[in-house]
Amino acid sequence: MNGSEHRRLMDEIGIWLQEGLISGEQAARLRERYPVPASKNWALVVTSVFGSLLVGLGIILLLAHNWDDLTRPVRAGLAYLPVLAALGLCAWYVFSDRSSTGWREGLGTFLGLAVGASLALVAQTYQVGGTFRALTLAWMLLILPSVYILDAVMPALIYLAGITGWAVGQSSCQDNPTGYWLLLGGLIPFLIWTRRRDPGGIRNGWLMWGTALSMIGGVATCMHTHEPVLWFALYAAFFAVCLLAGELWDRPGVSLWGRPLTLLGGFGMGVMVFLYSFLWFWNDMNRDIQYYGWRRTEWQEATDIAQVAVFMVLYVVLLVLAFRRLKGWPFRLAACFPLVAVVLVALNQVLEGHAIIPAVLMNGYAFVLGLLVVAEGVRETRLDNMNAGLVLLAALLISRFFDADMSILGRGLAFIGLGICFLAANAIMIRRRRAL
């Protein structure tokens, strides 16, 4: 139970006591039963992290000024000052057997930035050639162990930002960015470790958000083609993997902030379902593959296919593991999105020139999904679910109303038919309620 949940329960106990539902003695026993949860001093953590961040960034700027009046050896020596200070503090922390979140996070931030400052100053002093991404890669590899040594989330977030930047740099220069996944693998044990100890905690939330957002960057940069079948398959599998991993990984009952994988997977899937409800997406899919893929080299083709295959396999494994745990039809239907995508893509290839059929089926899938999400939200009085379903339905209806690619007559009849279904459902519900 976190602090806000505890406060709410204490308020409720007070109300029950006032209303005479429980006696004073019972109230005291309940208060004893739920003591104030031991909370970390977050003010200490925040000031420590921000203090270290500002000092570290200040040192980087100070060194970047380029003190050309100083001799080369002096500047080389200066490059060591911040890193020696950071390592000295880390050594003191490790050997003093302390365990303070504020110290850990602050030191992790300072060490992470000090290493970058040191490498940058040496590069500046000796006119070291090479790209910024090469420097970033060395920097990130050097700070990765500090995540485990200090058990700190901040250097992990710096690491995630760094490897994502490296992958973007590689991709934009037509170099191979697939090493990103290997670099991300270096952080997996820490993710599992943090999740096990503090599943609903703030640190786990930040770490999972950082990882999820970094992975979007990784997927986008490691994909070299705009070829629509592969693109569709990859993103459908990726968002479904996020959703299923969230179901297996995220702690149930915590706020959406504490469930980044579920939120990201659900949001990404909603956007995809909406995009592929447009007819032109399906028409584009039947174009010659060469039209999209002519610029790719052999290794780019191979990594594109490998990436799609890995995410598809991961999706199937997670679907098998999570399917029994998926409560309710909306979630099950959403989890099946990549399968629906594969079937519709195959149908689109077979029915070449009749892209309207998979487009209509995708609209049907999106409509049913939105409806089920709204229905579940209403049944369980969960406003977030209901609103998400309503947003999907509204986006779908508005875009179909203005959609110039589909027949006006067909759309008119479909709108009237669906409207009559809604009104009939409404009438049935009113009749049942009266009968009760």
Binding site: A64, N66, Y80, V83, L119, T125, Q127, A138
Partner: protein, 195 residues
């Protein structure tokens, strides 16, 4: 918690963090002390790309070579490492003596460069060479002044600006950027004083 694993990991990380800059310092110091100095002619660069942050982006003239017979270079992929032997022309400026996959015999004056764009035939075609030195970091106040001078002088004639690069055993380290025979920093300082 003070566990042996944590302490060993800390020791390894500290050693790596301290060794990374040290290895760069030692490698570059060795080239700067023992390497032979060559004057590389620079050429005008795109004004919009002349400066990034606080360094002068250098572009070198005449860094091309004829692909020697027997050297296999992939047509599609750039960025292959080649060993470029450096010599001097009659005016004392650096020129490419030879290009090979292996370090040239009998000389330590060569730089490992990457292959750039190529044109012409598989053999006897021309290959563009990309040196590992292309940025000259400067003080933030002098950098904008150097940018102006760099562009002005390069526009006039390409021999007015050159980079002094120390070369040794495959490495090339920029020692200084010279404007009309004067170190760039001194040149722009003097110009600033004259104004």
């Amino acid at each position: 918690m003070k566990t042996p694993f944590r302490i060993i990991l800390f020791a390894v990380m500290s050693a790596a963090i301290l060794a990374a800059p040290a290895s760069q310092i030692l490698k570059h110091e060795r080239v700067l002390r023992e390497g032979r100095a060559f004057r590389f002619r620079t050429q005008p660069v795109d004004p919009y790309d002349a400066f990034r942050g606080r360094y002068v982006r250098l572009s070198f003239a005449e860094l091309t070579a004829v692909i020697p017979p027997g050297m296999e270079l992939s047509y599609r992929s750039r960025g292959e490492d080649v060993q470029v032997a450096i010599g001097e022309d009659s005016n004392g400026f650096a020129i490419v003596r030879s290009v090979s996959k292996e370090p040239p015999a009998g000389t330590r004056d060569y730089v490992t460069m990457e292959t750039g764009w190529r044109w012409g035939q598989e053999t006897n075609g021309i290959i563009n060479l990309v040196p590992p030195f292309s940025q000259f970091f400067m003080n933030e106040k002098l950098a904008p002044l150097s940018e102006d001078a760099y562009r002005r002088l390069n526009r006039r004639t390409t021999t007015n600006v050159w980079a002094v690069v120390r070369v040794l055993d495959g490495r090339g380290v920029i020692e200084n950027l010279m404007f009309e025979g004067v170190p760039a920093a001194d040149y722009v300082r003097d110009q600033k004083l004259e104004k």
